[in-house]
């Protein structure tokens, strides 16, 4: 299945900002992060289809998945 990915902030260097990512079968956010070479320890916030999510949440086909570094509201 295809997932639309966007990576933000200091997670970005060395990676494309946006990409379509193909995964086989069931996948969690963490699986995709690992496949993209993102260190889960550096991921501060995840959204799946505009909903704040966790690394162990499942990802459905045709989802939009965004990875953010640690951020803090001012």
């Amino acid at each position: 299945m295809a997932v639309d990915i966007e990576i933000f902030g200091q997670l970005l260097p060395g990676k494309p900002r946006r990409q379509t990512f193909e995964i086989q079968g069931r996948a969690a956010v963490r699986d995709i992060a690992n496949a993209l070479g993102l260190d889960p320890e550096e991921i501060g916030l995840v959204t799946v289809d505009n909903v704040q999510s966790e690394l162990d949440d499942p990802v459905q086909a045709d989802s939009r998945l965004c990875f953010f570094p640690y951020v803090s509201g001012g």
């Binding site: 933000f8 902030g9 501060g44 959204t47 505009n50 953010f68 803090s72 001012g74």
Partner: protein, 570 residues
């Protein structure tokens, strides 16, 4: 320590020793207590019985990293309740070094006549300043720093405060090119204008330092605190705040559907990518502007920027997230250059960008301009400086603008405009907006966080989360600590207790610290109660309970019973 009393009616200043009941207070905690003790809660906020208070936090002047913020307070003409707004800059540090616990401005001078208060070491005087009347905050600070030293601290109002517009804030000068920091919220600039006080100048204290009760205890804790800040992944030089500033969250808030867009009618903005912190950094590096600058000397977070135009000419320092949200996406503007231009004008007029952005959004909805039409919007804003009726309406904030123009969609709580998180999709912030004695204010307890502690779209857990955050915010605002510096203190409150005990020798334990923080809220709530504010006032606007917000089509549905009972366990 001492308190400086300034009587504007008699043009007189008086030093007094700190009364016992104020000794263990600072910043927001002192403001709350002083308001409750010294002013009639139901008084006219712009009348002679209100008092305007400048106070450093408990750590002010002690060279603790990020702890030099200045608190300004009074009864708010917007919320009708207790108000504290704080700002970076150098004034908080200067007051702390001079051992001035508070400057309390009382009574009123003659209408339309202005003075400047000059504090120089252990002396202070009021000098006539009618020559500064009508000037913006930048020109006011420039003139006063020419006269009293480029390294002096200047707190001033612009045209908005002089004309008693209730969206007016108070500008403070900062480190180097950070010329304009604002104690922006709640209309405190109008209170300052009502007193006839155009500015306060503090000559740089030389050879002055905070006296320590136990220097070793203080230094050990302060050093550990600074090291935690530097190594925190959110806050160090590799962290988002330093690299991208407060605008680092534009993308995340937009993705979560909480970015105020076109007068809070949508939660995502199609041009948000051009407003992100990444874009801001890219632009400033290409144009040779500045990123990662400080508003306070010694800050190790350094989240500021100096925004320059295409030719490299400085426009404004700094462009911040809340401003981007309220005068960018909220007005349908997708260019940082447009945001910076509006930001500069607001700073110069001495206007809160949150209140003014919300007011402009309401005015646009009423047809006075179009969303995305920069020329039309800047035309409205310029009228604030000109003092036209429309300008005064905008300058008085969102509620006034909505009433005059007959608009029901007015994003406020307790009379004060909402900052850059729509409460329908970040409901913890909605609870804070509704219940904080400060009115709609993200700094009173911001639930936007890195991990999903509580589902931001759900109802469950929001009350407890907001209460916990409001107690933490009370601590930050009373110690002079920047809210970005909270993680090490939340993780280990003993650091704060040791710093306070090291300076003052109060022998605080964890329960004293906890009581101190909670008492801030208790005192403010009691002031507001005596001012006539009831449970029915602590609410989110009705339309936000009924009008779904795309893309989640969510409404604010935290029950009133949760709002009414939030402080039951305080």
């Amino acid at each position: 320590m001492k308190i400086l009393r300034v009587n504007m009616k008699e043009s007189a200043v008086r030093w007094e020793s700190v009364p016992k009941e104020y000794e263990q207070l600072g910043g927001r905690a002192l403001i709350a207590r002083l308001l409750l003790q010294e002013i009639p809660p139901a008084c006219d906020a712009l009348g002679p019985h209100n008092k305007l208070i400048f106070t450093p936090g408990l750590l002010g002047g002690a060279a603790v990293a990020t702890a030099g913020r200045l608190s300004v307070g009074a009864k708010s003409p917007l919320t009708r309740g207790a108000k504290e707004a704080n700002a970076g800059g150098t004034a908080g540090d200067a007051l702390g070094k001079l051992a001035i616990k508070a400057v309390v401005v009382e009574n009123q001078g003659q209408p339309k006549r202005f003075h400047v208060l000059v504090i120089d070491g252990d002396s202070a005087e009021l000098i006539p300043a009618d020559d500064l009347a009508g000037l913006g905050t930048y020109a006011t600070a420039d003139r006063l720093q020419e006269r009293f030293g480029a390294d002096s601290s200047v707190m001033s109002i612009g045209q908005a405060g002089e004309q008693l517009m209730t969206g007016a804030g108070i500008a403070t000068t900062g480190d180097r090119d950070q010329r304009s920091n604002h104690a922006a919220r709640g209309g405190l600039g109008a209170v300052m204008g009502s007193k006839g006080l155009k500015a306060v100048v503090i000559r740089k204290p030389l050879g002055r330092a905070v006296k320590m009760h136990d220097e070793q205890l203080f230094r050990t804790a302060a050093k550990a605190f600074a090291q935690k800040l530097i190594t925190d992944p959110k806050l160090g030089t590799k962290g988002s705040q330093h690299l991208y500033g407060t605008a680092s969250i534009v993308g995340a808030v937009n993705e979560m559907g909480s970015l105020p867009t076109r007068n809070f009618t949508e939660g995502t903005f199609e041009q948000s990518a051009d407003l992100r912190g990444e874009k801001l950094r890219e632009l400033m590096l290409a144009r040779e502007g500045k990123v990662g600058t400080r508003c306070m000397p010694g800050c190790v977070i350094a989240c500021r920027n100096l925004f320059v135009d295409e030719s490299g000419k400085p426009v404004v320092g700094t462009v911040q997230y809340e401003t981007i949200a309220l005068v960018g996406s909220n007005l349908g503007l997708g260019k940082l250059d447009d945001v910076a231009a509006i930001n500069y004008l607001c700073n110069d007029f001495g206007l809160d960008t949150i209140e003014t952005g919300a007011a402009l959004g309401v005015a646009i909805e009423a047809g006075l301009a179009k969303f995305g039409d920069f020329d039309g919007i800047i035309g409205l804003l310029k009228q604030v400086g000109e003092g036209t009726v429309i300008g005064r309406m905008i300058g008085c904030g969102a509620v006034t603008t909505g009433r005059v123009l007959g608009i029901r969609r007015v994003p406020t709580a307790l009379g004060q405009a909402m900052p850059g998180y729509d409460p329908r999709t970040l409901k913890g912030n909605g609870v804070t907006y509704a219940t904080s004695p400060q009115g709609a204010d993200h700094t009173a307890g911001n639930a936007f966080g890195a991990r999903k502690e509580v589902n931001p779209l759900g109802v469950e857990g929001q009350k407890a989360l907001s209460l916990r955050l409001q107690i933490i915010a009370a601590m930050l605002d009373s110690t002079g600590l920047c809210l970005f510096a909270r993680p090490p203190i939340i993780a280990n409150p003993q650091l704060m207790i040791d710093m306070i005990n090291g300076i003052y020798g109060w022998g605080w334990k964890l329960e004293d610290y906890d009581k101190f923080n909670r008492d801030v809220l208790r005192t403010e709530l009691e002031f507001n109660r005596r001012a006539g504010i009831t449970q029915a006032d602590y609410r989110i606007p009705e339309y936000m309970r009924e009008e779904p917000l795309p893309p989640h089509n969510a409404v604010f549905d935290v029950p009133d019973s949760d709002l009414d009972s939030i402080f039951d366990t305080l």
